[in-house]
Subunit: 425 residues, 2 copies
Amino acid sequence: MRGFARRTTVDAALAWVDGQCQRLPSEQVSVWQAAGRVLARDVVSGVSVPGFSRSMMDGFAVQAADTLGASAYSGLELQFIGQSLPGQPFDGTVGRGQAVRIMTGAPLPAGADAVVPAERAELRETRVAVLDAVSPGKNVGQAGEDVLPGATVLRAGRPLRPQDSGLLSSIGLPEMAVVRRPRVRIIITGNELLAAGTPPQGDRITDANGPMLKALVERDGGIARLRSLPLALEEDWREGVLNSAESHSALDYLVPDEPAAILAAMREDAEVVLVSGGSSVGQEDHAPLLLAQHGNLAIHGIAMRPSSPAGMGRLGGKIVFLLPGNPVSCLCAYDFFAARAIRLLGGRSAEWPYRCERLPLQRKLVSQVGRVDYARVRRVEGKAEPIAISGASILSSTTTADGFIVVPADSEGYAAGAEVNVWQY
Amino acid sequence: MRGFARRTTVDAALAWVDGQCQRLPSEQVSVWQAAGRVLARDVVSGVSVPGFSRSMMDGFAVQAADTLGASAYSGLELQFIGQSLPGQPFDGTVGRGQAVRIMTGAPLPAGADAVVPAERAELRETRVAVLDAVSPGKNVGQAGEDVLPGATVLRAGRPLRPQDSGLLSSIGLPEMAVVRRPRVRIIITGNELLAAGTPPQGDRITDANGPMLKALVERDGGIARLRSLPLALEEDWREGVLNSAESHSALDYLVPDEPAAILAAMREDAEVVLVSGGSSVGQEDHAPLLLAQHGNLAIHGIAMRPSSPAGMGRLGGKIVFLLPGNPVSCLCAYDFFAARAIRLLGGRSAEWPYRCERLPLQRKLVSQVGRVDYARVRRVEGKAEPIAISGASILSSTTTADGFIVVPADSEGYAAGAEVNVWQY
């Protein structure tokens, strides 16, 4: 029951994380599932989009030279010879003095080089009166104007937007290589805990970290696992909390504070392990010792508040994060270190997914040199108001907060009115 | 084959959308599935969190009065009578002159009113030397300090954060009422289209809007449906594009450009219908006529570029959006109108999910008074550079762009150097 001999700086811990996290290998996903994933390889188009010249308007495909001098006052008459619809092109050739009715997106017939818009022409039985001159190429989309064959349409490392999946679809790809999502085993320990879904009673509290970490991991592109079950069964279990006739305790995911149970869970198949609870140096803090004995406890104790009793290391191929059980500490340590690892493994930016806003501080915020502080703030009348409650166990301080401020290790804090970066939850 | 007689302003179309969209009723979800959903009702806690006073440190539970005068130079000795661990509280009472070893989070034993941190005390067999005085309440978390019974912990309308699901779990809720996700039937029409997953060939292009709209709908919290199948089968189908032995065409979701087929799809069970393609006033544009005949075509033709041939209306209980088939128009009309409807129905903010940044324009951007322009821009050296290609069919203009500018209807455009709002994709 001793404190930490020495605390690692936040910067050193971040550098350790960065050194451990190489982008995972790729997997193939369908174009329907691509948005939100990270592209693993450059995509080069094998085709032209469109593969043919087409009309950009509803109107008449003509030879532009035939429209010279046409105006609303002196319409020129062309011979109407047929129509071109999307998917049903005109078979013949547009000769001098001829016109083909054409719809937006339909292939431009052979011989034609421009389209007169419908509003500038009139169909009169077998003749088309053209009321405006058009130049060659007018209202025509050229083959390949969207994508040329051989063009790199999207580069490796790109988080795919909705329109990217549209573009990938348009070049005919049924599937593409994206970075695999890191599998994250969430281990919730603590003999005082009751499973989520159970009312707290007596000397027991209900687990908050399990549902919170699951949501955080998914936000960062990881696959969250709380039980040693096949993923489909785990999903059934989580859905089933609602309808199951079984009691919640029968479906319990909590791991007892016993070294063998924790070690077994840490050894399950995953790229990242999060252990919530028992991360410090007390007699019930098994995870750091297990990691030191069976793997490598690289960092234990960090110069920050909250989350100072956090740690990290490796066990076989896995990166293990030891997160304090207090929920604010757990959230903070997750966001600083574990989120970064999950995002980097998944090929994403190390940056927080929070918007950052510059706001003046509503009142003084005191910190301690040598320590990074994570201070929850509310946004009140355009100012950032620090939330008075600083306890690492007060999860409601993160739900009443609009965001947080990070006070760096070299700062004694900020004066009232100072402009600070507020990271918005 | 005539143009629109009159175009509705963007503001009027937005007002129409707002008037149609009431928040959907609620459904219950498990606390594991709550994050990202929108709370439908205020949540009032029925319990205290924590339900008992507990230690905030590893140390010794004592009567504070017994530590008066203790210091590193003159330790005071107390009788060691047992321990309190999380989930395994001390059974007895701490009397004058006594101390109980206690772990962070463990219940404070009866009689004790403070905790001496482990670093400020030494256990010597049956005695505890206390090296520091503590005041009453020191290092003790009081019952209810996180949540009090009867407190409203979260309010209706809140999009739930990861930590919110932790807080909801901590008060013992297995499930909660959230706003139902709107079901969105995506109807992709166009005889020139091949299904996603098929290489484009000849006079046919491969559908881009299906995968794009599916991703957009999911981004906005809707449930996207592309086929008239039960949802599970639809998901199997989308996953199955990858592994299925069947040809993609056999699994085709495209709806033929035939009034009966389009009407049948529009009548399927959903809150929102998106029809991609055939939205204009040409002979193959069936959807506006169908909506006018069988429901209400409220708006058709909008004073904007691209997307002017967009429309919207109602069919029975559904809100129907007619989106142009050109993919940039489709994206733009979706983002302006359909996204707003889906977000409002789902209880979300009408605001775009794009970050907005003020940037100077790299060069002049010309627009037309009376029309809203949606201009794609690249971010080059801290400036917004309009992308030269303005064609509504050039989807790659939205993938090479970093975002877009909206030029309002009363503006002729912006001069080079003008500061503009850039919405970041």
